[in-house]
């Protein structure tokens, strides 16, 4: 750990004192250096491919581009009216690691697939370059459920409405996105199906049906209902429609997130008069308080490996993203810019976070890689917030 980096980070935090929280320090684990060479007849295509490959490698948190790498990628791009072909040969310390071809109609998914294969072949871990992020766009009074890939292609608007669409949640099998929409004059719960494009209302209790959170097996959704006059967390069985009430207090209980085992749920409650995080068994029952260090904690998200929880907390008058161990220890601040950083979600491998931030003006989605603490802005232009991360793409 280089002292210089810590000093720089401390300087950036306004008014940092010994009692303030330690910033998340870069893990600083060694990234495997990879050199890249891309050739082809279409120069524009070659430039796009090379730029994206370098991007995907450098954001992986596991590999990094270098002039002379431990591994070398030699790629060539061909295009004709049938589509684009990306050919790549990878050597590692002189040994042939893989030779592969990818074909499709756009260069970006091909490069993402190559980058993910690189990560897997070199480190044995799954890469996230092929994943996507769904989120909400608000544009002059129209709401959209948008999906964006991790490259310069513009977002795809799945659904649009003049009334509020909010709190999307991607299912663990990648096939559905749950969300709340107010188009029928109530905050109702909907499911969008990626396989047939339908958006169907699945729950319409009086009041709120919001903040859906999928159980890891995809069979249940924990969500917030307010039909009894007060927000509580319920468990919805997706197939049968059965509802089980998990909390029954006069305070606000909301913002549930499952542990990756499915056995526990972390959620926000203001039973003390101010919002804090609590953990309960996913069958309901007693809840243990999990946060003790900030006056306002909300929107928890449990990491895929089960060891950490990300959340938003108020620092001074601003909101920042924090990461702590699931037992509440080792609290680290992760964002330092802007006044409203909220709704953190983990990538499927737990090496990245997506969140919304107002650091650049209107809210936008940012993605953060936790090894080097690199932050990238994902969305441009219109107000974008409430991110949910897709699972890993299925590959044959």
């Amino acid at each position: 750990m280089k002292p210089g980096i810590i000093a720089v980070l401390l300087v950036l935090i306004p008014g940092a004192t010994a009692t303030d929280f330690l910033p998340m320090t870069p893990v600083g684990a060694e990234c495997v250096p990879v050199s890249v060479s891309v050739t082809g007849r279409d120069k524009a295509l070659v430039d796009d491919a090379e730029a994206q490959l370098i991007d995907d490698i450098d954001f992986s948190g596991l590999l990094e581009t270098a002039e002379e790498g431990y591994a070398h990628v030699e790629a060539s791009v061909y295009s004709d009216d049938r589509g684009i072909l990306l050919r790549a040969g990878v050597t590692c310390a002189g040994e042939m690691l893989m030779v592969k071809e990818y074909s499709g109609s756009s260069i970006y998914p091909l490069v993402h697939a190559l980058a993910d294969d690189l990560v897997y072949q070199i480190t044995g871990e799954q890469g996230i370059a092929s994943t996507r992020i769904a989120y909400i766009v608000r544009d002059s009074g129209t709401y959209h459920l948008a999906v964006k890939s991790l490259d310069p292609r513009p977002p795809f608007y799945i659904l649009s409405d003049d009334d509020v669409i909010t709190t999307p949640a991607w299912s663990p099998d990648g096939d559905r996105i749950a969300f709340t929409a107010f188009r029928s004059d109530n905050g109702d719960l909907y499911l969008y199906s990626l396989s047939d494009g339908t958006a169907s209302k699945i729950l319409s209790r009086g009041g709120l049906n919001t903040s859906p959170a999928w159980s890891p097996d995809g069979g249940s959704i924990a969500l917030t209902l307010s039909e009894n006059g007060n927000s509580d967390i319920y468990l919805l069985d997706v197939d049968s429609g059965d509802l089980q009430r998990l909390t029954a207090r006069n305070s606000i209980e909301t913002s549930a997130s499952f542990s990756p085992t499915g056995n526990q749920i972390v959620f926000t409650s203001d039973r003390l008069g101010y919002p804090q995080l609590y953990v309960m068994d996913s069958g309901g029952g007693g809840a243990d308080r999990a946060t003790f260090s900030h006056g306002y904690c909300d929107s928890p998200s449990w990491s895929p490996s089960g060891d950490r929880i990300a959340y938003t907390a108020m620092v001074g008058s601003d909101f920042h993203i924090f990461v702590m161990n699931a037992d509440g220890s080792d609290i680290r601040q992760v964002t330092f810019e802007g006044t409203l950083n909220e709704d953190p979600v983990w990538s499927p491998t737990g090496r990245h976070l997506a969140f919304s931030s107002d650091r650049d003006g209107a809210r936008a989605i940012y993605i953060l890689e936790l090894n080097r603490l690199t932050v990238r802005k994902l969305t441009e232009g219109v107000e974008s917030y409430c991110a949910t991360w897709s699972p890993l793409r299925e590959r044959d």
Binding site: S76, S103, R183
Partner: protein, 174 residues
């Protein structure tokens, strides 16, 4: 080491690109992975509001189903009870998309405990009949309220007779 690296690379690249010129159509390779572009996403179509319709349907089922009444301190199904029960069984068999909670109730006479048990026996009697009729057990649930949730508050036979029943409560689901 670097020279060997380079040599291997050149050799590999020559092999893979042998016989292919970039400006000619490329042969298909069975080692090629086809990656779908993200035009695999479908524009969402809002489905008609079936929720309100479903709730209305459930209300209709609730209207139709008849409660089954019992004699004092009994869980036997007399002929009137059987009429209602046969109608209900037929209705439940021929309409799908809902489940039924069979609530056993009792009049106020007798102890709380005894009546909880009696209510249970009444609900069970109806349950057994319906399952025997051919209705799937997964569509049925039983509960006993004993004398705790009367339909009629009174201390005469008219009120008591109202309360000695199994009430059919319609639930959403299959």
């Amino acid at each position: 080491m670097l020279a060997m690296c380079a040599a291997v690379l050149v050799a590999m690249f020559t092999v893979t690109s042998a016989g292919c010129r970039p400006d000619e159509p490329l042969p298909d390779s069975d080692s090629t992975e086809v990656i779908p572009g993200d035009d695999s996403l479908l524009v969402g179509v809002w489905q008609p509001d079936t929720m309100a319709t479903y709730m209305e349907e459930l209300a209709v089922h609730q209207e139709q189903l008849r409660d089954v009444f019992f004699e004092y301190d009994s869980n036997e199904l007399d002929s009137e009870a059987m009429d209602a029960l046969m109608f209900d069984a037929n209705y439940i068999m021929s309409h799908s998309g809902f489940r039924v909670l069979l609530e056993g109730h009792c009049d106020e006479r007798g102890t709380i405990d005894y009546n909880l048990a009696l209510g249970e026996r009444r609900a069970q009697a109806v349950y057994d009949y319906l399952v025997g009729y051919g209705i799937s057990a997964s569509r049925l649930e039983t509960v006993s309220y004993g004398k705790e949730r009367p339909f009629s508050y009174g201390s005469d036979e008219a009120a008591w007779a109202q309360n000695r029943r199994v009430h059919f409560r319609v639930l959403p689901g299959n």
